[in-house]
Structure formats: C-alpha cells, structure tokens
C-alpha cells in the first residue's frame, strides 16, 4: 500500500472569517470542557497557594536583609511567585498526555479525518482551556498573594497589555513543546521517557523553582536565547514585574513570538512526517 497523507487538505476557500469561526468554536468547546472540572480547579488553587507560600518565603529569605537579589526586590519576588503559581496552570506545563494517549490507542485516526489540521484543532482547544484557567487558576493566587505578602504592581500603562500578550505566547510555546513531546508517541508508543525529561527540564529551566536570574549570567543568557523554556514562565513574569526597561521587554516578547512560530512550524512538520509512517493500532 502506498503512503497516504491522512490529513484532509484544508478547504481552498479563502474565507478567513470561516477559519476564525471554526477556531473560535473549538476554543469555546475547550473552555466549556475544562469549566466542568470545578472541584479539580479548587483543589489546584489550594495546592498553588501552598506552594506560593513556600516559594515566597524561600525567595524572601534568599533576598535576606539586603532585600534585593538578582534585580528583584521583595515586592517583585512576591509578584513573581504568586503570578507564577497561577501561570503554571494557564500554560498547563505538566500532565497533558491526551495526544500521546490517542496515538497509542489509535483514536488519532478520528482526528486525522477532520477537515481541520490536528495542530490547529489541538491548539484551539488548548487556548480555550487556557482561557478558563486564566479565570479559575490565575486570578485566585494573584488575589490571595497580596493578603500575605508585599507585591509589586506594574507602574507603566503598557505593562499589563504586554503581559497579556506574553501569557498568550507562553501558552502557544508551551503547547508547541507539549505537542512535540506527545508526538514522539508516533515513533515510540511509550512516551514516558520524553515526558519525564520534559517534566524535569521545564520546571527548572522555565524559572519555576527559582528565577533564572539566580543563575550565573552566561547560563541565563544561554537558556534565554537558545531554549524555549524561559518563554514559558520567566519572560511573562519578568514583563509583569518590570525587571527590564520597556524596550528590552518588547524584545523578550519578540523572542517569544519567534519561538511560538518556530515550534508551531515544527509541530506541523513532525505531524506530516508522522502521518507518512503512521500505522493505526487496533482494528
């Protein structure tokens, strides 16, 4: 049997609004799907809050009597930690194995028959999920934190919109990474290895365990420019606490755009390669 690309060619109809309407509908269904897990969201917020306390106290102890460390003052560290705990759920850094599971079980075949490219449709679902998480998971820690710790409020008017854009890009970058990790199931069946590497690497290198500014300068710069990880948490959080002057922040968000485009292109490439060799399991 010759190889067949399973993904249906996208409609040649140049109607962009229709594409957006489809994308929006899928995103909305992603939002609704996650909105049904109310209990899980509450449990998640409690956990984020506990870790918010832990990390905040630890970083403040690192800042010590001097009150500043690696360019963050105490209030900036507070915002970094509490917004970071919320962002963790918005970008859904861990635990997404849906694509890998569907590849292993063969259910992926149903996705390939749809007239929407799988990368596009999974991205839309993920953006819907992120939209719900911004309300249910980002807002609570951001509101709870200031009751117990000093936090930094942005001073420049442009910071908040830029932060919003940066978070959106972080979701796309994180989605791209997770899609690639999951897509390794096309070749490996068992994705536990890549998944463990991703879980280990992403937390440390994204700036969750400590702001990457705590690392030696050359290492931070290497991570920032050579890997997508800082674009997941470190960049949006640095934008929010205005650690850098505005032009630098714009540059960092530009870097995120670059990673987002690159990763999505890579996802499509990997998907195409995979479809050429895919044998759907089961009957």
């Amino acid at each position: 049997m010759g190889s067949v690309t399973a993904t249906v060619a996208p409609p040649t109809d140049p109607n962009v609004t229709r594409w957006f309407r489809t994308f929006g509908a899928i995103a909305a269904s992603g939002f609704r799907r996650h909105a049904t897990y109310g209990q899980a969201a509450v449990a998640g917020v409690v956990t984020n809050t506990v870790f918010g306390f832990l990390r905040c106290y630890i970083f403040l102890a690192v800042a010590g009597a001097a009150g500043t460390v690696a360019g963050y003052d105490r209030a900036q560290l507070g915002t970094f930690v509490w917004a970071g705990q919320g962002l963790l759920a918005v970008i859904a850094i861990w635990g997404w194995t849906e694509l890998a599971d569907r590849i292993r079980t063969g259910e992926i075949a149903a996705d390939l028959l749809r007239p929407v490219h799988p990368v596009t449709s999974y991205l839309a679902t993920d953006l819907g999920r992120a939209g719900f998480a911004s309300l249910a998971r980002l807002l609570p820690p951001v509101v709870i934190g200031p009751f117990f710790f000093e936090v930094y409020l942005p001073r420049h008017w442009a910071t908040l919109p830029l932060f919003g854009l940066s978070v959106l890009l972080a979701v796309v970058v994180c989605f791209g990474c997770r899609y690639l990790v999951n897509a390794s199931a096309y070749w490996l069946q068992d994705v536990r290895g890549p998944m463990i590497l991703w879980t280990l690497g992403s937390g440390v290198l994204a700036g969750l365990y400590f702001p990457l500014g705590f690392l030696p300068g050359w290492l931070e710069a290497t991570l920032r420019y050579a890997t997508p990880f800082p674009s997941l948490l470190q960049v949006p959080l640095d934008v929010l606490v205005e650690r850098e002057p505005m032009p630098t922040e714009l540059g960092l968000v530009g870097l995120q755009v670059g990673w987002a485009v690159l990763l999505l292109a890579l996802c499509r490439l990997v998907q195409r390669r995979a479809e050429h060799r895919l044998v759907v399991q089961g009957g």
């Binding site: 897990y37 209990q39 899980a40 449990a43 998640g44 409690v46 956990t47 809050t49 506990v50 870790f51 306390f53 832990l54 106290y57 630890i58 102890a61 690192v62 800042a63 010590g64 460390v69 690696a70 117990f148 068992d190 536990r192 290895g193 463990i196 590497l197 280990l200 937390g203 440390v204 365990y209 400590f210 705590f214 690392l215 030696p216």
Partner: protein
C-alpha cells in the same frame, strides 16, 4: 472475611511483590529511563538549594553545609517513603475506577495490597540518591560526633520516613470523601517535602506554625538537624526537641492508621 494464616498472607504478599518486580523489569529500557528520571527529580531539588546559595551566603541564618543536613534528612526520608507507600496517591483513581472494590473483597488487608500491587521499584534510584546526599551532608557539616548524635543520626532518618509515610496515607484518605481531590493531597505531601527541605526559620507567621508544629513537619529534618549540628534553636525551643522525632513519627503513624480505618468504613463504591 476469611483471614488466612500469617504465613499464607506473607506468601500472598510476596507473590504480589514478585509479580510487580518481574513485570517492571520486562520493559528494560523503560525501566532504566524511569530510574534515571526519578533520580533527576531529587537531583534538581538539591541543585535548587545550591543555586539559591549561589546568590546568598545564608538562608534563614543557616549556611550551605548546615542546610544540606536539613536537605539530606528531608529528601532521603521523602524518597524512601515515596518508594514504600507513595503509590497510595493513586487511591483516587482506584476509587473512581472501582478497582478498590476488588481489593476489598480479597482476604488480605487493603493497605498492604494497594502498596504491593504497584510498588514503584523505579523510585529506588531516588531513595539511594537522597541517602547519598544525607551521608555527604553529615560527613561535611563538621559535626562533633558524640554517641548520642550517632544514635540520633541513625534514628532520625527512619523516623522521618515513618512520618512521611503517615502523611501519604492520611492525605490519600481524603479521596474516600472527595474523589477529585488528587492535587489536594500533593499540597501536603510534596508541600511538606519542600517545607522540610529548608530550615523553618525561613518561613514565618501562621504558615510556619501550621506546617512546622500543627502538622509536625519541623520534627522531620529541622529539629534533628539542629541537635546534630549542636545549634540552639533560633526560635527558642529547647535542645531535647531534636530527639522528639521518633515520638512525633509514632503519633503521625497512629493518626494515619485511624484516618485509614475511618476512611475505609466511610467508603462507598462509585458503582462503576
């Protein structure tokens, strides 16, 4: 329930464990990847402490060498407890899928069955690494070894293991009442691990009071480390508190046993 004799039960448990070991070793590559990956998690915990000390000379009044004793006690105990009973984390899934019903109708105690049904041998690497950190920390902290301190160094780690094991079991029982509670247990188990990785002087206010003394996490690593290092508690508790960890661990184990019994009695099958 027809209770088999003690030897019969033992043989059944050994069969469960043997089946586990064989099935996990069958996929050799996956097993090696898991071994390495699991160790990585603890390696990063220790690395994080080293990175923090890269930008500060002391943390809550403790130097790096002193803090490493706290880290060693915490990570070796958590990793060992996670190896032995950490799988109880899966209880919510067992309850949801109805597997727990099958466990209950067998003529063996439910808790040992659950633990042996899925003993994660891959986590051995993590426990070994934690122990290595502890030994290194104890050797390099310049401890003035007395017979008493040697005894404490031998008793405190197993006591901490018992304590963490009790925490795992107690938090898992929440899922008897609240099935979607998975992540909630993490806030106390993994939260407790992170809490005990640093001197409690780092924390403040009611949060410290709650975790350190309300739940007893201060006795896992902080107070034993103070006693080993011969340091007075900056928070003013007397020196003998460092020796209280076995007692606290026993109390925690009793609480866990009680919570488990009450939880099982409350259990209603999800009917699936």
């Amino acid at each position: 329930m027809a209770e088999p004799g003690a030897t019969g039960a033992l043989r059944a448990y050994r069969a469960l464990l043997g089946a586990q070991a064989r099935s996990q070793a069958a996929y050799r590559t996956s097993f090696v990847v898991d071994l390495v990956g699991n160790m990585g998690a603890t390696v990063f915990d220790v690395l994080t402490v080293l990175v923090l000390f890269g930008v500060t000379r002391e943390l809550g009044g403790f130097t790096l060498r002193e803090t490493l004793v706290v880290v060693g006690l915490s990570s070796s105990a958590f990793a060992t407890a996670d190896l032995l009973v950490g799988n109880i984390e899966r209880l919510p899934r067992y309850v949801r899928t109805g597997l727990f019903d099958a466990v209950l109708v067998r003529p063996l105690a439910a808790l040992p069955q659950l633990l042996l049904m899925d003993l994660p041998l891959r986590k051995v690497s993590r426990a070994v690494f934690g122990l290595a950190v502890l030994v290194f920390a104890l050797a390099s902290a310049g401890i003035d070894w007395t017979p008493g301190r040697v005894a404490l160094a031998l008793v405190a780690p197993p006591a901490a293991v018992v304590f963490f094991a009790a925490v795992f079991v107690t938090t898992a029982t929440v899922s008897f009442y609240w099935i979607d509670s998975g992540e909630l247990a993490n806030s106390v188990t993994y939260g407790g691990r992170d809490f005990t990785s640093y001197p409690v002087t780092v924390y403040g206010g009611w949060f410290r009071a709650l975790f350190a003394y309300g739940m007893g996490f201060a006795f896992v690593s902080y107070h034993p480390a103070l006693a080993l290092l011969g340091r007075a508690d900056p928070l003013g508790l007397p020196a003998w508190v460092g020796w209280a960890s076995p007692g606290v661990a026993l109390v925690a184990a009793a609480v866990a046993a009680l919570a488990w019994r009450v939880g099982i009695r409350h259990y209603r099958s999800t009917g699936s």
